[in-house]
Amino acid sequence: MREAIRFGRNGTVREVRDVHPRTTLLDWLRLGERRTGTKEGCAEGDCGACTVALGRLVDGRVVYEPVNSCILLLGQCDGADVVAVEDIAADGALHPVQEAMVTHHGSQCGFCTPGIVMSLFTLYEEGERPVGRDAVNDALAGNLCRCTGYRPIVDAALDACATAKDRRFEAHREAAACALGEIAADGADLFMRDEGRFFAAPASEESLAALLARHPDATILAGATDVGLWITKSLMEIEKIVWLGRVASLRETRSTPETLTLGAMVSHADAHAALAAIDPDLGELMRRFGSIQVRASGTVGGNIANGSPIGDLPPALIALGAKLHLAGAKGTRTLPLEDFFLGYRQQDREPGEYVRAVEIDKLRRHDAFRCFKVTKRLDEDISAVMGAFRLHLEGRRIARARIAFGGMAATPKRAPLAEAALVGLDLDDELAWAPALDALAQDYRPMSDHRASAEYRAVVARNLLFKALAEIAGDAGLRIAPRPAGLAAE
């Protein structure tokens, strides 16, 4: 067992053993290291001012992703290399993205700039070339700038990424690989502080189950994109934290012709490609899931386990058909994903139990899938309504249907009446769809809140089902952004 958090910092290994388990990386940088280049704009993962690059060893190489340091706990840096805005200009020479930001007048007040620079840094160092406007938009979706209107920042990104990659950062990357290799090698459970107040990161499922059995009141931590806000915003007195980040078996992805199994700790970023391969709409859903920072940290298991009525993955996976695998001191069990959600923020999970994986039923021949996320702002926003539809077709006839919505009830929920009404319908007979569309009004009683009114949700849900049917029937003119090209069979 290890009692210190260990992470890489400019080629050396830092050990920290005396911080509060809730300490965020941002506070540690600003208050601990006294490095104040990284800014706090919101402390809730939405503005990106606090963005730093976090590098993890992947097959011997350190790969960097941007993360929101305001909601990332210091303990989650265990085994990772932390690169902040002060670290990328070498010997007085600016990094190419910094230079381009100056040349293109990419900063005005400058407060968003360190975070923007770090998002562009990871795009520059890790992004696939050529880098186009869409890639830049995606890289910046988690960075708010109130001054510039983004045009000069986008130009800076395109310009910096247009030329051959400067190799200066490679020396840092290699030094980091050495440092991280040393940390990874220990394979030890991490347990910082004491039984009353700790940050723990078991290295295996056995230690995890044992620890949770000993501390059923501990908070399970995955990516902290929800839990982080409980700390920074709700000021919850979380004292015992069990982070799943060191359990390798929870990060596995398994794909067969029929199913895709995602371990609970698979990040949204890592799940993206496998989900996009099932259907391009799922790829687009993941592209619009939070921001690149949120997708780097947030996990599939966390999105399910938190039981939010507006989480994006549950409706999509319920419509596809998915099984949830849970484990705990009493062993493992499996249930249909929809049965996991019992009521508002109430899940079928015993204390000490954890989500292991979700097993998704892939599309077969003659299956069609659509999902739509409707938000106030197109990128980096929480769904007002999220609708997902899987149809099995026999010729032009609907033989089976699965529908699930988020934002329409206290949980992610299927639409049994509409599903039943769809069976037997002809895709070419638009007038006959009405009973199924109308049935949604019985299936759901949505709420009004600051995202949308109940009336709006109800109309949108109906229109989304209509849109799915019309698109599957062959109408292509129904989206402001065309459905991404994909390989999915229909």
Partner: protein, 786 residues
């Protein structure tokens, strides 16, 4: 980006080409910004023992405070002291003028989140956690949240005010066509990326030095002196830079600085306030929201004969700057259009919400959006192209007097901008292509709109139109530059450094920009009303010019030439056939006892405004612009994309075209956010702001800005003698975004041409879908929340 350079630009005095002014130099701090090396208040290494402050907030929006039990707050580990109104040695008043903003509420609470007390603790975490432990007992009353609530209660923060010209009722009655309606316009959170912050350090005998993220250091100084019961001279306020301001730090940075100062005063320890983002949303005011009730009479061409409007402004719980803000709504109700007969009335309504305040455009945008909406309504009613209706009403010679009596002298500029943009944007051909698309497409609809901007430049509160600067030349030839303007990202410091470098003919690196301080330049106006460069640039130039004249006299004496023959350029001073480096002359001046320091002072000429008589010339000049926006709307969900934007904007002759373009683009996008996704939702029952943070309040991100975004400067020297014939640029571009709102309405209009589109601002996807459903004859019930 398309920067037009003036090839034959010459300095106004010598005929020498300009070397610094007109150059697209980067922001003075650009290299520091990108390295995280530009310090904001929370980055300044704080003195040991600094206390961290958190604000205790009201859990109710309206009522009487029955009890405030702070025992648990005091007992929280790490807490050093709790401040309440009873601790204030001076006045419990942080208002800019009217005395109606208490620092801490005492017997009544007036909005949800209002400050009740402050906690000083060893760490920020301890302060925040302790603040949550107060036990507050309030006898709650139903709050006024909406315009309708306030009208029903007849509660206002300031008296009604109106002005007009001619006989409106007969003009309305006599017009061939009449329309009336009501437009709701939402407010806007500033969302400066750096939240409100201040660090106060106590000195001797009550002296206090405060670093504040403020646009108005002088007001911070005054308010702290008032709260502490000290003369102004005991208080120094300094600000190097803000991480954005946009008006939100004009009057509403003072409270946090004053709380920090009070803490420092009482504990003799430095105190820092840095508001958490959610607290900042709850505690600080926003752009005013409006309900504009209008009536218009017009002819078959759409030309207006008479226009009447009542602007119902939701001011929040106190007056703050609402007088100036709503007056500016009135001054911009005409935007670019002539009203033969007009009446503009305003009500400044009190609601139990945070006190609305300055926000880039200062009330102007609301007035202008309303009249653009009216132009569209006229177009839909007459069947004419909305642009043609706009032309029919555009100010032109003979029809060029505003409702408040000032003549628009540059009607030619206004028309030239609109006509040029019509051509360069391909408006007419695109309009036809869009009509064809909409004919084919049932679900997706496109819309386009071209709208003009005319914005008056000067503070309408006359005494604010003044500025000071302080310039020192040291004996090595380096220059210390200071002035009353503050830097919030708009590039003011750099523009003024360019002016001073130009004046002395020296490399810009010699000019050291220094933090704005009430100790160096006193009695300043806020950096606001787009006036920063106009005012401070002139003051700095005057100061530099005086020093330069004395240096020239010294050079003339030394080389035996006339002072007029001495010129300054390329870091050298030329006198007849002789020349010497600028630094050597500076040293020579010191040796010959020539004073190398000067305070410059400038006040705007020729302006006047008599509010009681509603007459005068409140603006020195107008800045103009126009924008053409195209959108694509999904009429099944209300989602949309802005697909192309063309902008042509008048900044006079730019001092720094890169900075000016940045203001135009940034202003446009901020305006677009206001009119599209930025929605302030207040709970109708409790008055609590539901969209309380960026998680729920959505400002534009990069993908909201169209890839096809064409911005150009309109070449046009200011006819007034402004600094290098430039024009102010901070605020006017906000209103270019009216074209986005009108384009969205245009797209919805395609569902059933001729029908009015009931679209209010912000045009969120829900608002757009509601408008679509109304045109389909299936309106949704009124939204219950907010």
């Amino acid at each position: 980006m398309n920067i037009r350079h003036d090839p034959d630009d010459a300095s106004p005095d010598g005929g020498e080409p300009l070397r610094h002014v007109r150059k697209p130099l980067p922001h003075d701090s650009a290299r520091r910004h990108v390295q995280g090396a530009a310090d904001y208040i929370d980055d300044v290494r704080e003195p040991q023992g600094t206390l961290q402050v958190a604000i205790g907030m009201s859990p109710k929006a309206r009522g009487t405070i029955r009890g405030l039990d702070l025992a648990a707050v005091r007992a929280h580990p790490g807490v050093v002291r709790v401040l309440t109104a009873a601790d204030i040695p001076g006045a419990n008043d942080v208002s800019p003028a009217m005395g109606d903003d208490p620092m801490f509420a005492t017997d009544r609470v007036s909005f949800h989140g209002q400050a009740l007390f402050a906690v000083l603790a060893e760490t920020r975490d301890a302060a925040r956690r302790a603040a949550a432990k107060a036990v507050v007992e309030i006898a709650e009353e139903r709050p006024s949240v909406t315009v309708e609530d306030a009208l029903a209660r007849e509660e206002a923060v300031l008296p009604d005010y109106g002005f007009g010209r001619g006989e409106v009722e007969p003009a309305l009655v006599g017009a061939p066509h009449r329309l009336e309606g009501s437009l709701r316009i939402g407010g806007q959170e500033h969302f400066y990326l750096e939240g409100q912050a201040a660090l106060a350090t106590p000195g001797e005998e009550g002296d206090v030095h405060v670093l504040s993220s403020t646009q108005h250091p002088t007001e911070v100084q005054h308010v702290i002196a008032r709260v502490l019961g000290l003369p102004d001279a005991f208080v120094t306020c300094e600000v190097r830079r803000m991480g954005g301001g946009f008006g939100g730090k004009e009057s509403q940075a003072t409270q946090w600085a004053a709380i920090a100062a009070l803490g420092a005063h009482l504990t003799k320890r430095p105190c820092k306030v840095r508001l958490d983002r959610d607290d900042d949303f709850a505690l600080t005011g926003k752009r005013h929201d409006f309900r504009c009730d209008w009536r218009v009479g017009f002819d078959g061409e759409g030309a207006i004969a008479g226009f009447a409007v009542t602007h119902n402004a939701r001011c929040g719980y106190s007056a703050d700057l609402s007088q100036g803000v709503v007056d500016r709504t009135m001054f911009h109700t005409d935007n670019s259009y002539y009203f033969p007969a007009v009446r503009i009335d305003t009500r400044r309504l009190l609601t139990n919400t945070v006190s609305n305040t300055a926000f880039r455009g200062f009330g102007g945008p609301q007035g202008m959006l309303m009249i653009e909406h009216v132009m569209d309504r006229i177009a839909w009613a007459t069947g004419r192209d909305p642009l043609d209706v706009r032309y029919a009403n555009l100010y032109r010679p003979g029809r060029d007097v505003t409702p408040y009596g000032q003549t628009v002298e540059e009607t030619d500029t206004l028309r030239a901008i609109v006509e040029t943009l019509e051509r360069t944007s391909g408006y007419r051909t695109r309009r036809a292509a869009i009509a064809a698309f909409n004919g084919r497409s049932k679900t997706l609809k496109k819309g386009i709109s071209l709208t003009p901007v005319k914005f008056g430049i000067s503070f309408t509160l006359m005494h604010l139109n003044q500025a000071g600067a302080l310039v020192h030349v040291y004996q090595d030839g380096s220059v210390h530059l200071n002035h009353g303007g503050t830097e919030m990202g708009q590039g003011l410091y750099q523009k003024i450094a360019q002016v001073v470098a130009e004046e002395f003919g020296i490399a810009i690196e010699r000019v050291r920009i220094t933090a704005t301080s009430t100790g160096k330049v006193p009695n300043t106006a806020p950096t606001a009303a787009s006036s920063g460069t106009d005012l401070n640039g002139m003051a700095a130039r005057i100061a530099a010019g005086k020093i330069k004249a004395r240096m020239a006299a010294r050079a003339a004496a030394r080389f035996g030439v006339a002072a007029e023959e001495v010129t300054f350029r390329d870091d050298r001073v030329f006198a007849g056939n002789e020349s010497l480096p600028f630094g050597e002359l500076a040293k020579d001046c010191v040796l010959h006892r020539v004073h190398l320091s000067e305070a410059g002072f400038y006040k705007t000429p020729t302006i006047s405004w008599d509010r009681a008589a509603a007459k005068g010339r409140p603006f020195l000049y107008f800045a103009f612009g126009a924008a053409c926006s195209e959108v694509l709307v999904d009429t099944l969900t209300g989602e949309y994309k802005v697909t192309r934007v063309d902008i042509l904007h008048d900044v006079g002759r730019s001092i720094n075209p890169a900075i000016d373009i940045g203001q135009i683009e940034g202003g446009f996008v901020q305006g677009m956010g206001w009119l599209t996704t930025e929605e302030l939702v207040y709970d109708a029952e409790t008055g609590r702001l539901r969209t309380h943070a960026p998680s729920t309040y959505k400002i534009p991100v990069a993908s909201d800005v169209p890839e096809d975004f064409r911005v150009a400067l309109f070449p046009n020297a200011n006819r007034e003698e402004t600094i290098y014939r430039s024009k102010a640029v901070g605020e006017p571009p906000i209103m270019l975004a009216n074209s986005v709102f009108c384009a969205l309405a245009d797209a919805v209009h395609a569902l059933d041409p001729g029908k009015p589109v009931p679209l209010d601002a912000p045009a969120t996807p829900e608002a757009v879908l509601r408008a679509c459903q109304a045109l389909r004859g299936r309106p949704l019930p009124e939204r219950a929340i907010g």
